[in-house]
Symmetry: D2
Subunit: 324 residues, 4 copies
């Protein structure tokens, strides 16, 4: 079988992660790289033995599948172009940085003959994939208590520029808005309070979420505090049990009233597997090869954008956001 | 100087804790004990070398100061009687199990010639007292993420009986509603979601709190999950720092963006000091001896009852509770 | 059946612990207390509703069973007297503070008609009792790495006085010398290095132990370092598994090569059960009532004294101590 | 200034780490790669844009400086060749897998005009570099308790082949024998016990070490247990303080008798910096450029080989090994 020709648009850190994973997949041939910064293009192209392209359009034209790994606010234009060209598209999160544009991408993805997958890698990370399985099989969730902090918006410097990220929640915390849908289903309503301290945008959030299935959750997300471990933590309270994740490092299950627990450690896993990158890239290629639906759809991408936008709106208005 | 004659009404576990602390205070003479269960009265009276009284009224009549350590729903009647008799009163939390009765007690306390202190011991626990001091002196709080779980409402069995406790939030979680006022000031509004799973009452809560000074907080409180350590945890996010408590065991301060931290361990302290019982009893006697205001007033007691009632109301109505 | 009349000689902290446990045992009547300090005698006698005796001899004469809970260097004389009088004896650890005297007590215990049990409580603590069971049933030990520190010899002040303790190793570390025999069987030989830093005795030890069954172990014991948790830790290395205890708080079992583990937490247990005091006192009374052998014999007490003495000798000579 | 031409002999995992670090050093030009496996040579050469050499000799001939990153048992021959050719040599640990060959390399290194550095990277890892500094400046060590485990000798498979590694201690644990010299100075004598369980070599060790300055230490090293975190831990007991490292992740300092501590977390550092690879490679190039002595000398390499050999000898004979 002919190999799938893959191109990458945007040659920063996350592009390198995907390139390295794709290089180990026999079904794939990495053929073209493009970044607006020439040096980045060349360095990544050399590492993965691919061609340097002169434009994003050239990548789309000459490949079967395209990875969009540019800054957040550049995703939409490229996603529309690639999907319209009926190419397979792997679009990094967020799908867009506002709902109206996200809707355009969903429409294009639905019309396209290609597979369209969004890069919500945490669904594939063993801690979260296992948590999801436990909730589905044996631990019906009652409520959750969630934290998704960053220590700062200084390193790299663009993480503090909303013109690049679309806003702090679109960059990091959006992972958790996708995660709560993955774990608990659709959100019925939410109320959020935010405040601004260190950065030129709202950088500290408290959110209350109600899900259609009755689950409820508290979520804190701060960019102005610290990297005190764990800065990303999900606690789910079930029938006399607590399930807890710390980063993508450990998954704890305490299913008794003594305080005993079992802890799964992911420390021995390579980072691309621990963080789910390996699995999401395999899943994308699987969907292309097998003609099956992608594991994370454009609609999933839209829904997490909707939640982020609803949080910003609630912070502004002081009102609950109804999500239905 | 004549010793202060102290009596205790209600001779359960927490009465024993106070009795043991008071026994080590030279300014105090423990004179009378009463409990509706004779065995309890006798056991405690023997341990602390005090008289067994035949009624609560006898304790109030024959003592200068009265500890009210009965079940929650019995506090009000005894508090009113003792305050009206111008005795010094140490009333265990909650002050009452509804706002209207709490108001009566506040009124009686204000009219009384005696000191009136409420048993919110956590204010005196070194982890929380130190946290308070750090927030006041060097770490202005931005937001907080708080958990206050119990593993079950089975042991002791009365913890699951709302006729005794007034409701789960009045028994355990009320500590945290007093704590947030202690740390962050008055609550402006709150929204709460609750659900019922294992017990004959709402046993799982998610709460969003807004304070008048702009601080906001998420608070989870569950009685149906587990005793996974830490079941009581306060995280405060400040200017590039995180302050964290685990139970009353440890206080962590991370004031940098590397993830380094300093941890104060209270493990070597005796339990009555670690939990603040020693300090609150000393403070009560100090207030009596020095004629100074009590450290935790009837008004403080009322305010935490108000917050608990507001949470129950918000759960019922689905609406925000305005606290001002 | 007539209750067993128990007396206590030595009315310090540990006496209070045993008294409290015995008070909850229906088969026991606490009748007499003696301490060379009158105040201690009286306080404990009042708490447990017992008579104050005028001498140790009076306690021995008037009781069926005697607890010896005096300072370490006073155990031998009392143990000899009580055993010779054919009384049941519970002698706190250490049995003696040198081998020659320990041998005398073993001899007296063997001749006595009474039960003779030594207070190596850790054998009964759930973390260690469970560890022992796991090693016996499913995890054959290969080697062990053990730490038994104290943070200081200042509180209480007598812990730093070898005239009272018999030497630091006789006070605290002897627990671990009994524990290794309990877990791994008899020691074949050992080599120890010690040094003197903060106190008027050797206060810092490194020990290498070889057991007759081929197990080997490293043991560190310091009185001059800190109370950094855990100060008492046993790690046992088995067939691709590690068993680990921290104080008497937690027991960890990692039986895989991924790093996953299960942790049993004892935090919810009352202290007297967590530390094994409840169980050892029940076992002592069981042995009396049932005429069965004690759970920890005078010979066990002797063997741990032998190990401590061998460590001190090895430190002095720089030579291996042969234990067979 | 002309760039230093660096070649690499042995193109496995650790070669890739050094290549990546060297690629970011402007003073260096990576020119030639050789491995007995052609595929490895080609992959690494492509990644770092270097030439594939046809032999080790070609690398030595055509470069100013040579990295020897072959399997352990191949180090000596290459180190002798490169040093004799007066090239700068970075030789991965162990310097050799026996003392007699290590002596030959030391001799060659001393005669050579080139810099000779041994790859004991842990000296440069921030946890250990900081620990060393604290011991030197403010915390005089009394004794230490050290664990250096591996979870298995299965992944990669060659780790279980003594023909490749020279023996388990030469592969992983030798890091710790270098570390104790780095921290505490020269070893005066040691006694070791070993046993064989899962692998075709002694795989479980207990060691007692005495240093010339009076410090003493216990060291456990097992390859047959588990990856329970932390598998590498150094605890140093000082004047009422404990310093503790866990892997190269965290450094804890507890300098009081309450149990409080400060923890430095290295979690935010990139792996090549956290593990000291970046710093050791910079130090090697610094030594070349500045004509200064290397940070880890051939003599250091020899001394750690001597300690490993002494442990194996002690295990075999049952006798103490005198190191002076």
């Amino acid at each position: 079988m002919a190999k799938i020709k893959v191109g990458i648009i945007g040659a920063g850190f996350i592009a390198g992660v995907h390139a390295s994973v794709l290089a180990s997949d026999d079904r794939v041939e990495l053929v073209a790289i493009y970044d607006v910064v020439n040096d980045c293009t060349e360095r990544l192209a050399r590492t993965c033995n691919a061609r340097t392209a002169q434009s994003a359009a050239e990548v789309i034209d000459t490949c079967d599948a395209v990875y969009i790994t540019t800054p957040n606010t550049k995703h939409v234009e490229l996603a529309l172009a690639a999907a319209s060209a009926n190419k397979h598209v792997f679009c990094e999160k967020p799908l867009a940085t506002n709902v109206s544009e996200a809707l355009l991408v969903v429409e294009a993805a639905e019309k396209s003959a290609g597979v369209f997958q969004v890069g919500h890698n945490r669904r594939f990370a063993p801690v979260y994939a296992t948590l999801k399985q436990m909730l589905a099989e044996s631990h019906t969730p009652h409520s959750a208590h969630i934290k998704m902090n960053r220590g700062e918006l200084l390193k790299p410097v663009w993480t503090g520029d909303p013109a690049v990220t679309g806003g702090f929640l679109f960059e990091t915390t959006i992972h958790m808005f996708d995660m709560v849908r993955f774990l608990f289903g659709e959100v019925e309503s939410l109320l959020a309070i935010g405040s601004t301290h260190e950065y030129a945008e709202v950088d500290d959030f408290s959110v209350l979420l109600k899900f259609t299935n009755g689950v409820h959750a508290t979520l804190a997300s701060s960019a102005d505090a610290s990297w005190l471990f764990p800065f990303e933590r999900v606690e789910v309270f079930c029938h006399h049990s607590t399930l807890l994740t710390r980063e993508m490092e450990t998954l704890v299950c305490s299913s008794n009233i003594q305080g005993h627990f079992a802890e799964q450690s992911m420390q021995q896993l390579p980072r691309e597997e621990k963080w789910g990158y390996l699995q999401e890239d395999r899943a994308f290629i699987d969907a292309i090869v097998n003609g099956t639906p992608p594991a994370v759809t454009a609609l999933d991408g839209l829904m997490s954008v909707k939640l982020v936008e609803a949080v910003y709106r609630s912070v502004e208005t002081g009102e609950m956001s109804d999500m239905l």
